[in-house]
Symmetry: C2
Subunit: 102 residues, 2 copies
């Protein structure tokens, strides 16, 4: 069975720009996922850590939203600038980034 130490799901759900709920696609979802992929590769973590696109995680008001399994840690209002800190503190260091958890 495949097993990742950390499996990062980044919401990339797209809604109409006029939709009051907002959506993670318009809050940088794809860019965040691509940055995670870069950081994973750069740190030699391919096969141990995976970043995946996800459909709506139902945290629209808190987008861009992310969930990391198996630990089930949720992040909201994530920007591409936060990726390095999540990688360093949480993925490498085992300490979730409290200021971003939801």
């Amino acid at each position: 069975m495949p097993q990742f130490d950390h499996h990062i799901f980044v919401c990339e759900n797209l809604r109409d720009p006029d939709d009051p709920r907002g959506c993670c696609a318009l809050k940088g979802g794809e860019e965040i996922r691509l940055r995670f992929k870069e950081e994973i590769k750069k740190r030699g973590l391919k096969g141990k850590v995976r970043a995946n696109k996800a459909g709506c995680l139902d945290q629209c008001a808190q987008g861009a939203a992310i969930v990391v399994y198996p630990e089930g840690v949720w992040y909201g209002h994530v920007t591409v600038e936060d990726v390095t800190e999540i990688m360093d503190s949480h993925i490498i260091g085992g300490k979730p980034v409290e200021r971003l958890t939801i």
Copy 2:
């Protein structure tokens, strides 16, 4: 923090039909996810169990592929006909469907 008893990610990655790797979108990924959503609703599990679309889970040869967190159980060659059994045995009963695990 949101917390699902079971968070089901269904690969719906789409590749060109000629791509030798195959892809889960062409093996019923979306239909499988929609069936999970129906079953979750029917059984009153909304809020406790969630089925989400996922990008490529890197199990292309075993599509349609699914991973269920936080337990990290992976399924391959899933069809829409398998959804009820996964719901009954695994999601409700706590016993993964061995014949489909990868």
